[in-house]
Subunit: 490 residues, 2 copies
């Protein structure tokens, strides 16, 4: 038997080289059982002619397949499917997998599908005016140097960092860089034992909640608030108290004496962008001492302080070890990286490390090592500098456009950041507005998800400038203003 | 002011090129505030002479620093620290961070540091006879092609896969490959909505436990058992019942009627390696229907079935949707990858997806895409073939050596796998034995952690052959036998 040359088709939309495509056709033919061991392959000349491609491409693909034992070469007789090629599936897959014969309403002990998200489409890049928050702007990210750092981290010297099961440990190079270069710029001193790498700030918040809260404890959060944090706390079934932020963030005076944990985004309140002044930071820490609560400081966007120098982190003012600090590389590098870190008392970090080991062991070594190189070669700081300059320009363009269009800015971002917190006229439902605007290629983020569900203010929304070029901002803002006017509310 | 050439020192142990080292010295000098904006850098000629390196190396490093705005060039006057260079830390780090002023015994709501692990050293590669389980053998892993696939996944075309916040989604390419090529070889048919990518099997087990168990529910586990699973269940505070496995794995007859979830490693029991026969698999599923429980099937090592073809997965026999299937790339690729997957009813996967979004959002995109390429180009199957051949050889050498040394094999691995489950004479404490053997460069895994804590059999241990070359096996086994004789028990 021979594999017929007619079974080979090229796919114009294949995302790789011709050689790779050929290789994939052959391996998938073998693994799916269509090509059988001992069958003769078309000669490279014949296959090349059939597909209209160069013979060398076929030869290179065959050579690669030889080295992985998919093919064998029998001298002048040509190429054959190897008798010891990796095996095709051995079972007839079952015709159908029942879905509804288990009573899941009974089988599920806990439900997690209660939260529906802010409402951002995955294909946001297809929108011309993406005022979307938290995604990476390809024009700002130093992809070339990231690639080079990743390549270095894929080298022989870093084989261990790539492949090893670290158990509950982290990449020492990344920890060292965080200790020596990142934390100092927030005024924080820490020892390696006081740091744990996490799968982004999200993962850090989740772990902090698991460790600190129970059904009998009280958590205090800001209102409005990062919606996923509210959801995390719901899952712990603790008593959660939402306190409205004022222009200086959350007020210590409003925190009750029975609070166990206070979650705050002091440097850059999510989503209003207000910044807690130094005297209130000190008051909050005094209050923590007086009422004996722990503070979880989510410092998720401190890098983007381009209008004024950032205030030191709460953690840097904390002489009692009562602050659990959370940092993230999602905004300064990219969110798909899924890297963040926690800094806290060694006692707490020990628990977090044990929890993380049960949860997922450790963030992938390769990603930690790549980040360590990117940071230590100065690319990270260079990128933050670049982003800050561009964000400052975009912010100015956007501010002017919003003034001209008479859109009302509700939040204060006097330090920078990457978004504006906006208020539409009372009566406007920004969830509906956001859906309407998608038809015009405009993405805005409705504000509803940020509020306590019993006190949703449906007219708020967020406009980010982290992923939209300055040249499109004015037109996008004008479209929002037009849609707003159409609602009839003023 | 000028930066003195004398402040430059090369570190012989630096893990990169000279150019990178120079670049790092300059950026860290700037970021730490030692080099100030406007200061003149040594000329490339002078610095090259001082360090005894080529001038072109210095020039290349300077050029890179120029492009990232750490340096500026002023015509013939040379290089200066840029006035707009990324900024050094702005705060004096606080002198000390209090650690003991918070009463953590009160502040911690839940403790996770109760489990101490099997006891494996991180520096296992420094041992000459590493009978360690679950780490990657550099001589077997196809590092070159992994590197090439990673490089492809770092390309411009995959920018979105690398950087994007996927929210609760996964890489469609990886899901597609799992559906089309991996699940069929376990006899499983699934739709993409029935699959979730996880951070290894550990993460999948954790999520399954969170979703299915509460304090009022009963989980059944095998005894002995994967220790981290027992620990995960302890944390959910469910009622956990340990059932001793026999030579066919866990017996359905021993499962009580009030069981809610049964966790099993049917294809390859951890740690004894026994395989559940097909008739018992069917009996287990019948029992699940009768008593209305859900089965979590951890199929962590099915790829290593080189002695006999693997039986189809429990999931493939499940027509009611009562099995939650867990697969992992940790054994077939490498554990530092942290990739696994769950296959289950859509209702369950929806909950798991929502939980994962709160926990960590999604496994890093780059890692998913790299794995998708490695799989789709056939390298994964080729590697499994290669590993199977080598493991079969090692297993044979080891079996003979153990017979000669009169070491007693307790478990059955008639399908393959990567380890033997061993019984030392009664009275031997393998935890102590393992520490003693480390002095001789031998790593074995004491068995205590695998047993229910109230019925620990201290004389069991595990010997893996996944990371030790065949040439060292006999000598290592002889050393174990010698140490065993020294204990005086027979």
């Amino acid at each position: 038997m021979a594999v017929a040359v007619e079974t080979f088709f090229l796919d114009e939309n294949y995302g790789g080289t011709l050689q790779k495509q050929l290789q994939e056709i052959v391996t998938s033919g073998i693994l799916s059982g269509r090509f059988l061991p001992g069958e003769r392959m078309p000669s490279s000349r014949k296959l090349a002619a059939h597909l209209g491609i160069s013979r060398i491409t076929v030869t290179l693909a065959y050579t690669e397949l030889l080295s992985n034992d998919y093919l064998t070469a029998l001298g002048r007789s040509g190429y054959f499917i190897s008798e010891t090629a990796p095996l095709p599936p051995r079972f007839e897959p079952s015709a159908q997998n029942g879905e509804n014969q288990v009573d899941w309403s009974r089988a599920l002990g806990q439900r997690f599908t209660t939260y529906s998200g802010v409402g951002r489409p995955l294909d946001w890049r297809n929108y011309k005016f993406p005022f979307i928050y938290g995604q990476t702007d390809a024009s700002l990210f130093d992809h070339g140097n990231w690639r080079r750092c990743a390549l270095q981290a894929l080298g022989q010297r870093d084989f261990e960092a790539l492949t090893a099961d670290y158990y509950d440990q982290d990449d020492p190079k990344l920890i060292e860089y965080i200790v020596r270069h990142i934390l100092p710029r927030r005024g924080i001193t820490a020892r390696p034992e006081q740091i744990l790498v996490t799968m982004g700030a999200q993962n850090a918040l989740w772990m902090a909640a698991q460790i600190l809260l129970t059904q009998r404890r009280t958590a205090v959060i800001e209102n409005p608030c990062y919606p996923e944090l509210r959801e995390i706390l719901n899952q712990t079934r603790c008593n959660t108290l939402s306190i409205d932020v004022d222009i200086d963030g959350i007020s210590p005076d409003a925190i009750p004496a029975d609070a166990d944990v206070v979650f705050t985004t002091a440097s850059h309140h999510c989503p209003t962008n207000v910044t807690m002044p130094l005297d209130r930071r000190r008051a909050l820490l005094n209050c923590a001492e007086k009422h004996d609560f722990v503070v979880v400081e989510d410092d998720y966007e401190f890098e983007m302080s381009f209008l004024k120098p950032a205030y030191p982190a709460l953690k840097s003012l904390d002489h009692r070890g009562a602050v659990i600090y959370i940092g993230s590389f999602s905004k300064s590098l990219f969110p798909g990286l899924r890297l963040g870190y926690m800094v806290a008392s060694e006692t707490f970090i020990r628990e977090a490390r044990a929890l993380r080991a049960l949860l997922l062991r450790h963030p992938p070594g390769h990603i930690q090592r790549t980040a360590a190189y990117f940071l230590s070669l100065g690319y990270y700081d260079a990128q933050i500098s670049r982003m800050s300059k561009i964000f400052a320009q975009r912010r100015e363009v956007m501010f002017d456009a919003m003034q001209a269009a008479e859109l009302h800015i509700a939040g204060q971002n006097s330090f920078g950041g990457s978004s504006f917190w906006m208020a539409a006229p009372t009566g406007v439902d920004t969830t509906q507005l956001s859906l309407d605007l998608r038809q015009d290629g405009v993405l805005i983020e409705p504000g509803a998800a940020f509020f306590h569900p019993h006190a949703v203010k449906a007219n708020y929304y967020r406009l980010a400038y982290s992923s939209i070029p300055a040249s499109r901002i004015a037109e996008g803002i004008e479209k929002i203003a037009t849609a707003m006017r159409k609602t009839g509310y003023t």
